[in-house]
Symmetry: D2
Subunit: 336 residues, 4 copies
């Protein structure tokens, strides 16, 4: 961390600052320039509050040189993390997996039918929403506990491990047999929830928030890893921009960039990112080409009758077509 | 709600759509144009999923005419809501209140000292963070339960009602004696939390999310009101944009615009919005002029030693100066 | 276009509106609902000002059903446009081309060397900036007229057609022998310039503005086509968002979405979009997979000495590596 | 400027970098830390390309300490600039002015009528669009040269100096008698136009671009001042964000923040920023309270018949009401 002081800083304030920094175990290197004095802080600066230093009268500006994240940082963990899920399924480090299924679990028939169809087409994990975050209190909120039960039945019948979203800490006991717990975009900075899933020994799929930077995504993953859970899968699902032609703007450059920042696997959700079923295939292909470790795709037996997000769901036939295209691109994908 | 059909829609699909809409209790009015058939849906369309209809093959586009919110809608509740807080303090409907205090509760001395000083300067509610949402797991997370206790002591000593943030449902029992519960920007779409505080009989200060539209803010308020709690105070605190000179971009047009959409009171937080102490005064003045029902301002006894967000905190002296400027503008403020 | 009227509209104002709409050659279909009267406007609504109608006291809301663009609209021109450039080179309709070269023309040696190298690697058009838009007046502004001359020499020596940017109408006479004129992102809504290049018989590469929607991009292309020039190539080059890890956010969903909206070819510029050389390869691969008609890539003989945008330039060797990867993906690319 | 080098930088590359920096007249101060070497560059770094240095293999990161702008920088010009317009009218340094008039000049009667009415209400400058930037080529493009003539007639009849927008260098001869030349938001980075108006001896009203930062706005003002024209007036008119309830998001924190960065006067345009007539008054009041040096407001004799931007225009009566409210707030406005 570099602190640039203003001209002629008040000596007493400067002494206070230096003492405080030393009390945090940092070494300080002074460099006297013509118009500014620069302090280089050496040591573990992850816990140092830049805003606080910046607020001091004697400080011109503060710049961070090192990343504020550690456990997720590729610098300290150069090899790709491979997250092991149930049934010997792995993701990351060259293991590419497709997660597919309906937006919401609606009935036993529906979820089992979709599960069989996405398995046939090549998906290795089943997704389905039991607890649904909906903008409107009047919209369908998911089948909740019953939805989890139906997912378990689908798992038993097809062998596909389950990925489903938790919305609150109080729901976690219901997730005991869930294979991968999803933390949704709106909860990416629900820090209490992050801490709690950080104490589990279970893969966590962490979705990027609509207004969150890649560094913030990594800081949220750091929350989980700081608790001891190293099984974190990141998910790019689009950010909110001024463009309204798609629901969100899918940031595919995030894939190769995150790969340089972190060792964690990265999957892409083209369904939620675009909100338009016809864009799922090209974006799935593009994400694969760019080096994603997996995809998360909404598939519904009958898109028109889906209780939510129908506009972004594929039929099983369309999903099989996406899988075929993705499988062709896979061997040619960017590898860093 | 208006549904524009494509040319020559498949009759069977159209019949299905019409049946489904009627099953939701809606009346349908057809209007045959030259190149498009338009269906006008009359009735309670708040629960109708636009995305779903939009996904149908036979549909060109769907447009909502009515707002998807009811309880918060000024159309159905033309008079301003006045939220009554403890001690006879009211906000809304011409009652303007300033909430002030430190970012974080740090010690009994600190919170009591600041409480006395902001009270002297004219604040009528005390804010202070006990549970702190921090981007980094290594940053100070607040004094938590102990922080709530200290706020209660400050309340006892000064008589100021307390405003403090809840981060998770499991913390709510600790908030029994808190006067106003704050739902923070990162939790604006934590729908489980919204439902829970919707069952309380206590004012809720709901902050706008960094990437949320005004309509989404109102939908989150609708979650609270749908649970029976009518004591909702909205808070504009800046949105995330490409501009990095300020922490967020304070959207002051939200004040008069929200006033036309809803009857709920609206306060503005210039401290978090800008992240720069010297901008708090002009933005507090501007928010007051634009018709805000109140302000929420960070004040610290010693800004440089604050454990978080120091850069946006004022000294008590600077806060008194802001209050003086705001009080002069108050009688001239926009009234709609 | 659909106009939803307020309850009990003033009859005189309504008559005025109806007369005005009829004077624009539109037919009006009324549909009386329970709580609203809907007017459907049939005819050429491209010139109708939605904002103006929206401002009327009697109007609740206005919604456009038809696109405001005509010449660029795929509905009226279902086949892909193939733009023919000099030397029999075509782009669009299955013809994929890579445009490569340095950010700025710096010397005869430099531009000729790079031209030979990119040609060897497979580029079919040479780019190079003669007039450079720079944020700072103190930064290098390009070699200007002399730069155009050097591009002509490179063209003569290598046979590669030239793509270079015009910044002002007054520069156009210098572009007589330029093969493709680029209108840069900052000039996407320089409407006077668009009109002027609309009168040329020469391909125009139109870059998307940093804050412009896809519809606005198409409206700017419509300006060019309305003048008679049908040789328009669109270019996605990233939009400005809150994310600062990349210079801009590359919006690859724009490729398949634009393909449904328009018949014009679409190229992608991963160099400017990301501003990071190491991201050019994966984003070039992703753009190709998503169905782009071409790429525009910065290549420099010596990235470290480039006078501008060095951070986003590849060496010729790195460019050859990108070409190889892109060529492998090409046959598998999304075709709509 | 601070350059942080990577560990064990290649000595030859480092020597090259040092030579190049010295050739630009900079002094270099080395500071050796534990894990990084820091170079402090002292001298005129405005022309140094950060991106270029950042692209070097041996460089970890580059941070600018000094602002890249000089002439507009308040550090080098502590007093407020007062721009003198025709007729003894001044703006800046405590001189507050309101610019008002229709979006487009439509006829002699219209512009003269509006001019008289806004003068009566207290406006001291007349605005009116002769050249109109319109998204659609089929929308009204303004009366152009004839519109300028009509503005001159209105000036003659009322004595109000004229503010009107130039869209291209070739139009400048027509602006000889225009008092203040407006460079619109879409042209904020039309650098050739900026250079040209930088050679005039006439006030320039420079509007912030929809996707431009405050620093970029100042860099564009620097273009004008670098040409010798010191009469620059900045205009905040909203930026493009994800929020669609207003046309743009008015960034009022820009006013006090720009005042710390520059000595130039700042006016605010609430009409274009919000696009909603009813929001003009509260935003005009808020901008005034925040310390703006002036306002730019659209006024039309008959808003419903305006040929463009009608939704954001006030009637003369409504404008008089805004003026009254603004004049009351003026003496209480923030002064820094």
């Amino acid at each position: 961390m570099i602190v640039v002081l203003k001209d002629n800083p008040d000596q007493k304030q400067l002494d206070n600052l230096v003492s405080w920094l030393k009390s945090m175990g940092l070494d300080i290197h002074f460099s006297q320039g013509q118009s500014a004095t620069i302090m280089g802080l050496v040591g573990d600066t992850a816990a140092v509050d830049m805003d606080l230093i910046n607020s001091l009268d004697i400080v011109e500006t503060v710049k961070r040189v090192q990343e504020p994240y550690k456990n997720v940082n590729r610098k300290f963990h150069p090899e790709d993390t491979v997250v092991e899920i149930a049934g010997g399924i792995k993701i990351g480090g060259g293991n590419f997996q497709v997660i597919a299924g309906p937006c919401s679990v609606e009935s036993e028939d529906q979820i089992c039918l979709v599960a069989r169809e996405v398995k046939t087409a090549g998906a290795r994990l089943l997704r389905g929403g039991a607890f649904k975050p909906r903008t409107s209190p009047y919209a369908f909120q998911g089948m909740r506990a019953e939805g989890i039960d139906l997912l378990m039945e689908a798992k038993e019948k097809t062998g596909l491990p389950i990925v489903t979203e938790v919305m609150d800490i109080s729901q976690l006991p219901l997730f005991e047999n869930v294979d991968v717990i999803q933390v949704g975009a709106r909860n990416m900075q629900n820090f209490e929830l992050l801490k709690e899933v950080g104490h589990l020994n279970k893969p966590i799929l962490l979705k990027r928030g609509l207004a969150n930077t890649l560094q913030e995504l990594l800081m949220s993953a750091e929350y989980i890893m700081a608790g001891g859970n190293e099984k974190v899968i990141l998910c790019e699902r689009g950010i909110r921009t001024f463009e309204t032609a798609t629901r969100n703007t899918l940031d595919l450059a995030a894939i190769p960039l995150l790969k340089t920042m972190t060792h964690l696997p990265i999957v892409v959700d083209p369904s939620h990112a675009t909100g338009i079923a016809s864009l799922v295939k090209p974006m799935a292909m593009a994400a694969t080409a760019a080096g994603a470790d997996g995809l998360m795709i909404e598939v519904h037996n009958n898109p028109s009758a889906a209780l939510c997000d129908g506009a972004q769901s594929l039929t099983p036939e369309a999903f099989a077509d996406v899988m075929e295209a993705v499988n062709l691109i896979r061997p040619l994908a960017y590898k860093g």
